[in-house]
Symmetry: C2
Subunit: 380 residues, 2 copies
């Protein structure tokens, strides 16, 4: 073992009681692994939309300032007074960031399970991955198949299991097809690949023609553009054809969820035989799993009484289905990591680069087609 | 049998393609009952909020005009263009109205089951109760306990089973206490009585001090006034004390559902040990079962990811729990019809009176404390 360092850099996000966000790189001592633990040199960790909430909180990035030096960067920004209440739970606590990642095991505790991982490339989940070294239980590591790089394995968890979780939720809750919004995202493309493979009908909702093209190129059959004047008709037609009564929505705010439910009801009513002022008996569901639009959700209730809107969270879903079922999903991801679940990155940055304002400006936009990977051990 | 009439009056609601609502009294021939049917002389049928949707549709009552004569009244009103889409399913169809009612069986088919009901006072469900005579299956009649009048039995179904259904839904979905809005309504008072009897904690939300008084007088412990400046604090406190994570909302529009979820999350977060930007893991649910406020529902999502909002409909609930379980609830209603499930009426009107503008103006307001009963066989 050539592992001699005692200190590693770790990205930290702090929101102070005074209403200031501060991003910095802390120098953290690398803990000695306990018997059942390993230390992983993190070489790849994606910036997912789900990381940005913790990383940037409710800060107004128009106020962002760069301080410190290029090797010891500090970024500050103001959190609007109105958003501070929602931040109450994390005030004055310096928080590590990064849900998932991959790297190489460089040190291991005394147990056989831990020792067996030495030198292996593993994927990890559990937070604090924007760090040069991460200590965690051997049991929480997924050994990647031979020939898989950390970059290939870095996004093995959040997007793959979220998209698989959507299809699995559809099956468990008795729906037969799916709707997805912001559908040209990395996750959306993954969902299209799963649905094509599993022969599940999927209605993709996007916001512009380029996104439409991205999806058509990978074989998507139903793509509706929400800014088209014919959107409601297009969507109703796609819903009639597919019978989709379950939507996963990454947008969150505004009227889109309401529009989806309205079109589902219109599709369901086409086959109704008797008038009921309560609408169709077909249950229509929208799960909100993201918040690209921070405005309130507006529901006009023009879709009868058989409907639901709710939050959907991967961790809660995995807990609900239980360890054995979750393991099946993980195994599928491992088996199809270079095909169905391949992620593509437009930028690979070091920890100091991740705190440069020009990069923050790009990844904070959550724009389709822009995907960042942090390599905490990249030099530069 | 003294039943000699061949014709009975029946209240009808018609919305024409031209955008006009027309209420009238049709003369309907009384059908000969089939072997398994009976004919009931209806003597009491309440005007519930759930009847008003069918009766008045989306008509603008400011445009209501009275035509015809006092014995053959006709009321017309304009349906706003914007609301006509939602009426599409019922256009140009003259519809009978009245979900539930009670009366005396005056004629019966040949079967033993039907014959056994002759002369009995029965309660009914199934629509078309605003009529002098209603023909239906014997099996769909509930024989009221001896000594029970049609007036006492008229509201045996909608409010009692809805309020029981709320408590039952709470148990089935793993919640331990309830929230109810527009809580001083007839239904809300019933729910208080059930909860006091069953020792279920109930948080009542009302809109003014009189409603607060109504509930305190019948023993309600938690009453929050949504127009009080301290509403959010009051509600959070009541939710902390009761642990209520399920609300039934009759209001529908505006921000109330969002406020309830926000306060539930605040109550849940008080006991949280670790910060999660996804909020607490406690599932918080609001079911919308009415629409007193026709505006859109506005959800600000300041309540984490473990939440749901959806429609709740008595008929769907009864179907879901199945016939045997539904029967248990009905039996409880029959046993407690004069106590827990007693309804109080401020007006008892005949069919022609029900179409007088001054009465429509009152019952269309769905105001707490105003409750109408129609006696289709009342003379006058």
């Amino acid at each position: 073992m050539s592992f001699e360092e005692k200190i590693g850099l770790q990205l930290r996000s702090l929101i102070k009681k005074t209403g200031e966000l501060e991003l910095s790189l802390a120098k953290a001592a690398i803990p000695e692994p306990a018997a059942d633990q390993v230390v992983v040199r993190v070489e790849a960790s994606p910036i997912n939309p789900s990381d940005l909430g913790l990383l940037l909180g409710a800060a107004d990035l128009k106020t962002a300032k760069f301080m410190g030096t290029s090797n010891a960067p500090v970024v500050t920004a103001t959190v609007p007074e109105s958003a501070m209440k929602a931040m109450a739970g994390r005030l004055d606590e310096s928080m590590p960031v990064g849900n998932e990642g991959a790297g190489v095991v460089v040190k291991a505790g005394a147990s056989d399970a831990a020792q067996a991982l030495v030198g292996k490339t593993v994927a990890m989940i559990g937070g604090g991955m924007y760090a040069q070294y991460r200590c965690l239980k051997a049991a929480d590591c997924l050994v990647l198949p031979p020939g898989t790089t950390p970059t290939e394995g870095a996004s093995w968890f959040v997007n793959p299991l979220t998209s698989l979780g959507m299809v699995e939720t559809m099956r468990r809750e008795g729906h037969k097809a799916l709707v997805h919004t912001a559908a040209a995202s990395n996750l959306g493309q993954m969902l299209n690949k799963i649905c094509l493979k599993d022969r599940v009908s999927l209605v993709n909702i996007v916001r512009n023609a380029q996104q439409e093209d991205i999806l058509r190129r990978i074989g998507a059959k139903h793509v509706c553009n929400s800014v088209a004047p014919t959107f409601m008709e297009d969507l109703t037609k796609a819903l009639s054809e597919t019978g989709a009564t379950l939507a996963f929505d990454a947008i969150g705010g505004g009227k889109l969820a309401s529009q989806i439910l309205t079109c589902m009801e219109a599709a369901a009513s086409k086959t109704a035989k008797v008038y009921s002022r309560y609408g169709s008996t077909v249950h229509k569901q929208v799960y909100i799993y993201g918040g690209l639009d921070p405005r309130p959700i507006e529901l006009n209730r023009a879709f009868g009484m058989a409907w639901g809107v709710g939050g959907w969270l991967l961790f809660a879903f995995l807990q609900k289905i239980g360890a054995a079922e979750a393991q099946k999903l993980r195994e599928r991801v491992a088996a199809e990591l270079k095909t169905t679940f391949a992620s593509h990155y437009t930028q690979i940055v070091s920890l100091p680069q991740a705190l440069q304002l020009q990069h923050i400006a790009v990844y904070s936009k959550r724009a389709t087609g822009e995907k960042y990977l942090i390599n905490p051990n990249k030099v530069g």
